[in-house]
Symmetry: C2
Subunit: 397 residues, 2 copies
């Protein structure tokens, strides 16, 4: 379904400027912070600004929550700046939503009013296909509905069906209980939000490749931003030997503080050589263009590289290199709702949190810039929504 | 260890013209058919011709066998024509050796004089590393010794240590019993030889990816030459639904005769579309340059593509394509000795044989040409060694 509005050609794929309709009768007005439009004269998206959006009123099995914190993922700017193509403006980013339940619809059993709740990268899927039925809604054969920039296709996202989904840079939201996780009592809610994307993105392949219950392995993590550092923390909490891999020697102490016991500097031939053939699995969280042939030799025979970053530039791969040591390249995308609850509970139990930097909505443009320039440095930006709602200089008129 | 002789620059990698020394005291003279040298004036390898080579005399744990049949694999010309670089001339091809044991060294327990025996792609490895110890000698951490074109490094290949290994286009050979498989009584020895490479190359990933004992799957096979047709036969004997994939519609009836129940023509957009997302695993046996992005969409979510052909040109791979459906690209290389015995026994039990065309040594140049031009058409050439030895027009002086 092509969005209604003005279609704008773009090298990464067309994007769309649309006008948000006023709230319908079954919707209410809410504050959000959005990239309002693609500025054709400047040939660039406009900066993030406060706008009004419509959220659906409560319905059966729906959970309404006031937003407390929302993490900022690299894929927010990747989508919102149209690097992937297909952005529908106004674009409200944020898919690490941490809130407090303020209203529940008929039939809700998962949470109660007053519970802390989380919503990650998806808010609907068909729940009928083989993937949904095996708790992998992210691979829904009929296409999951993402928390932002998605058409509403399966019926569990209420409100105006002609608008796309809006993310968590906003005062509140309403989500079907299937796509809500319960935040355990006692969890540090200020730091929990990024687990809903960065945490699950690492947890799911860790789980899938047998690293939760299986034998201890040598686990490489390349890219030491929000994803990578969660990988370092979770894999070391599980008892694996974790080796951080970075272009920059300056990240060694940071990586070791987070649980890595080994470190590879990819700009050093010597370091690469010394670590060649030592790793069972590498979680590749790099989200910028890179040459994976630098990293593949670090794998042992039978080793696996799991691609996790939003890299659009293709890789050059030599199949005989894969054949001679039975090496594997695979990918993984977030995780299902069951696994998302698991990683929240696991992180709570083991006191694992992302390292965060709390910001306000008015800092979002700068935070996006830092992410795009690779300057996140292991720290996840989290928007303090309550504080942002009190900053009258950055609220919609 | 660089071979002694003349080093010749070549775009694929240097090759070497060497002079074979006369047999040492612990060696004997044997007929072989070889690419004798790289012709610098013609800038091409010379055609195959009969030559004398030296084979080692028997030693402890060694098995000497008269050669009866030797299969012709695509990798024979790939190596012998220096397409991979590194060929040491004279090059004696053939790594699907089927013979009759005529002498056993002290301590041999696996076979007796009179038994039919097979030797595949390797004749030695360290037998001490973790891979050798887990029956995957092909991934020996210290490097397996291949049946042809390999230096003799681990001590189980006797004879002159300065010459490289010579393959099965020859009157007899001597191999350590660890690298010999026993051909069961009653097996059709005329057709069994190609199982030792084409068969094991498919059997090992079929085994590794759980298709021997696991649930029934939809198995794609692309490339319908010697490897691919063995894949079709073995996978269908195991009860899987097998879909053959080819550029050419003309191969459909051939593929179906061999056990495929589905067929995809990759030149037809319609056929690709109708079969998109239907396969659990694809065995990619194509040995010429090709675009794997044509084939990846045929995989289901969680699907695996196993690369098996000797393709040197790199592939272009989009990681987000792998991520959004957790698709995997992996490789596999022949198989260990335990698995090689398994596939021989399995093929015997299920009466599975490659479709062969019996040739004589003098037909080798033409057979190589047919393979290089993709004209094998599901038929494996097998050299009848006994008949070749009776053809005086093509024996060494």
């Amino acid at each position: 379904m092509e969005p209604k509005g003005e279609k704008i050609d773009h090298p990464a794929g067309a994007c769309y400027n649309t006008a948000l309709p006023p709230p319908l009768e079954d919707e209410y007005k809410e504050v959000a912070w959005a990239v309002p439009a693609f500025d054709k004269e400047a040939n660039a998206p406009r900066p993030i600004e406060p706008i009004w959006i419509a959220r659906p009123k409560i319905g059966p099995h729906q959970v309404r929550f006031e937003m407390l914190y929302c993490g900022v993922c690299h894929s927010d700017p990747s989508c919102g700046l149209n690097e992937w193509g297909g952005c529908v403006y106004p674009f409200v980013g944020g898919h690490e939503l941490l809130g407090k339940c303020i209203e529940v619809g008929e039939g809700v059993t998962k949470v109660q009013v007053g519970d802390y709740v989380g919503v990650g990268c998806m808010v609907d899927s068909c729940l009928e296909c083989e993937y949904c039925k095996s708790d992998e809604e992210q691979y829904c054969a009929n296409g999951m509905t993402m928390t932002w920039n998605s058409p509403k296709t399966h019926g569990r996202v209420l409100g105006n069906p002609e608008t796309h989904t809006h993310g968590g840079y906003s005062g509140s939201s309403v989500t079907h209980e299937h796509f809500v996780v319960k935040i355990p009592e006692g969890m540090d809610i200020q730091r929990a939000a990024p687990i809903l994307c960065a945490g699950i993105t690492l947890w799911d392949p860790i789980r899938y490749h047998g690293l939760v219950d299986g034998p201890k392995k040598v686990v490489g993590v390349c890219g030491l931003g929000g994803l990578g550092t969660m990988g370092v923390k979770i894999a070391s909490a599980l008892g694996h030997k974790v080796v951080a891999i970075s272009t920059s020697a300056s990240k060694e102490s940071m990586a070791k503080e987070k649980g890595a016991t080994g470190f590879v500097v990819t700009k050093s031939e010597e370091s690469l050589k010394a670590n060649a053939g030592t790793m069972d699995i590498i979680f590749n969280t790099i989200s910028a263009d890179h040459d994976i042939n630098t990293y593949l030799p670090l794998l042992k025979t039978n080793g696996i590289m799991v691609m996790l970053g939003g890299v659009t530039k293709p890789h050059t791969i030599y199949q005989m290199g894969l054949m001679f040591q039975r090496k594997t390249i695979t990918g993984s995308l977030i995780g299902g709702m069951k696994a998302t609850q698991e990683v929240i509970d696991f992180c709570h139990k083991h006191n694992i949190y992302p390292d965060i930097k709390m910001i306000k909505a008015k800092d979002l443009n700068e935070a996006w810039k830092a992410l795009c320039e690779g300057k996140g440095d292991g720290v996840r930006f989290v928007v303090d929504i309550k504080a942002s709602l009190q900053d009258e200089s950055f609220l919609p008129k």
